[in-house]
């Protein structure tokens, strides 16, 4: 059922994303092949990058609007009467929204790199860059953790939006659900920030005298690359665990408020 939900979710959103992707690729190609004809070079060298910049801005704004609107109007508005009476699990509904948003965010990133590649293809030799990259000996463990941290950070943003909207509708924070959701989102951000600050301060206070902590500081300040690197690696692993914990919390907050506290108008 998750597949079917995603099929419709992708179709509902594709009609917004694909045209912008198309525009970005076309503008990038026009910039990339520019310079062939000098006679209109000056006017276009202003207009085209501007058009491209605006397209990217539009893409960013639209992604944010889509994340909020698809959750708000499709689940918490009148369409919710259809969605929540389908014989599907609440889990499938939340995950279909989450994965679809991820698909668009990742493909937007891909389109960004593609656009940069098209614009600079004259200046850079892609095969040379790839050749260079292959010489970089990155620790595979670190690479996996690093990618997971990025993915989990995106998921955290999405789930925080979902949980905020879910809570705003459950307790009728405001007549306008998106306004209420924004308030809850800001409140969440403040609370998380405070907890993190206190945790960091408490951690330093508790362990400041322990030999283990001194070792850690010494490692981070070491001039030896391998030692510094392993400290960074440790830091990213802890960060990943923390992000996963936050995501589990936001996921269940979302699920609870959609299942037990749903209150469609």
């Amino acid at each position: 059922m998750l597949g079917k939900l995603m099929k419709y979710e992708l179709r509902a959103t594709a009609r917004y994303f694909l045209p912008i992707y198309g525009a970005i690729i076309v503008f990038s190609m026009l910039i990339g092949i520019r310079g062939v004809n000098d006679t209109y070079r000056n006017a276009l060298s202003v207009i085209l990058p501007m058009a491209l910049g605006l397209s990217f801005m539009g893409l960013g704004v639209m992604t944010l609007i889509m994340v909020v609107k698809r959750f708000d109007s499709n689940l918490l508005g009148d369409e919710g009467y259809l969605m929540f009476t389908l014989p599907v699990k609440a889990n499938s509904i939340i995950i279909s929204k989450l994965l679809t948003s991820m698909v668009w965010i990742l493909s937007s990133t891909l389109v960004f790199f593609l656009s940069m590649g098209i614009i600079t293809w004259r200046e850079f030799n892609l095969s040379e860059i790839l050749e260079e990259l292959s010489h970089l000996q990155l620790d595979p463990y670190f690479l996996v953790v690093f990618i997971l941290v990025i993915l989990m950070s995106i998921i955290q943003f999405l789930l925080q939006v979902y949980a905020s909207l879910g809570i705003a509708q459950a307790y009728s924070i405001s007549k306008n659900r998106i306004l209420g959701g924004t308030l809850i989102f800001i409140l969440f951000s403040i609370v998380i920030n405070m907890v993190e600050t206190f945790a960091a301060a408490g951690f330093t206070f508790l362990f400041a005298d322990s030999p283990w902590f001194h070792d850690l500081v010494r490692m981070a300040e070491s001039s030896d690359f391998i030692t510094v690197f392993s400290t960074i690696q440790l830091f990213f692993t802890i960060l990943l665990g923390y992000l996963i914990l936050k995501n589990i919390l936001f996921y269940f907050l979302t699920k609870y408020h959609l299942q037990k506290k749903l209150n469609l108008e």
Partner: protein
């Protein structure tokens, strides 16, 4: 006695201080067309939402075939809410396929046939349908399922008398003998003749639950007359 298809046990739902449903207990036997009648705010829509699992009871429980609302109950309930739930990006054809994808009991051919009778083109976008046509499309979707339970919330509320006849006819011609149907309405006289039983709701509790024949015998009045008398403003 046959096992009840829907059962309410000491069911209550409060919103803040308002009691929308107040300690309601009722057992509904299968295979009947039941009118859920009551003035505005008597709890009709809340009761439907509770049966569909769109709301959690504050106290007590709803049982559908002996189970709390779940994915299994959603498979056998075909629900027409008061609100229009059609989105603004699909064509009529897309929403038919959507129902076909998610409900195993959806009869695509039957739905297409009903649309043809109404003269509605499947290529028409949902967004630009008139309010009346949106309601008809929703009713067609709901009645094209071969469900065990149909819950229709004010199916004839917002449409003109001609459309009302079409809707009643659609409901009756697609109703299967063994199914249970609950129709909420305040336009009783138009629809009274189709009910086997009626539930009279007042302030979230059952004022009366009886067969239409027995009400006529008991009170010497039609359901419409009784309703006007009981709920006189």
């Amino acid at each position: 006695m046959t096992q009840s298809i829907i059962e309410f046990q000491n069911l209550s739902k409060t919103f803040g201080k308002t009691k929308a449903v107040d300690n309601l207990s009722l057992s509904i036997a299968p295979g009947k067309i039941i009118g859920l009648l009551g003035p505005n705010g008597s709890g009709k829509s809340t009761l439907f939402k509770l049966i569909n699992g769109l709301l959690e009871p504050t106290k007590g429980q709803v049982l559908i075939e002996g189970q709390a609302p779940s994915m299994e109950s959603k498979k056998i309930i075909s629900y027409l809410p008061e609100r229009t739930y059609l989105n603004d990006w699909m064509k009529i054809r897309d929403i038919l396929n959507f129902f076909h994808d998610f409900y195993e009991d959806f009869d695509l051919v039957k739905a297409q046939e009903m649309l043809r009778v109404l003269g509605l083109d499947e290529r028409h976008p949902l967004k630009t349908l008139s309010k009346g046509n949106k309601e008809k499309v929703q009713l067609i979707l709901v009645m094209s399922r071969k469900a065990k339970i149909y819950l229709l919330d004010e199916p004839i509320g917002g449409v003109d008398p001609a459309a009302r006849d079409f809707i009643l006819e659609t409901i009756l011609s697609n109703y299967q003998e063994d199914a249970t149907m609950i129709i909420s309405t305040h336009l009783i006289s138009d629809i009274e003749k189709v009910f086997d039983e009626v539930i009279l709701l007042q302030n979230g509790s059952v004022y009366d639950y009886d067969s239409v024949d027995s009400i006529r015998e008991k009170t010497g009045k039609s359901v419409d007359e009784l309703f006007r008398e009981v709920f006189k403003c």
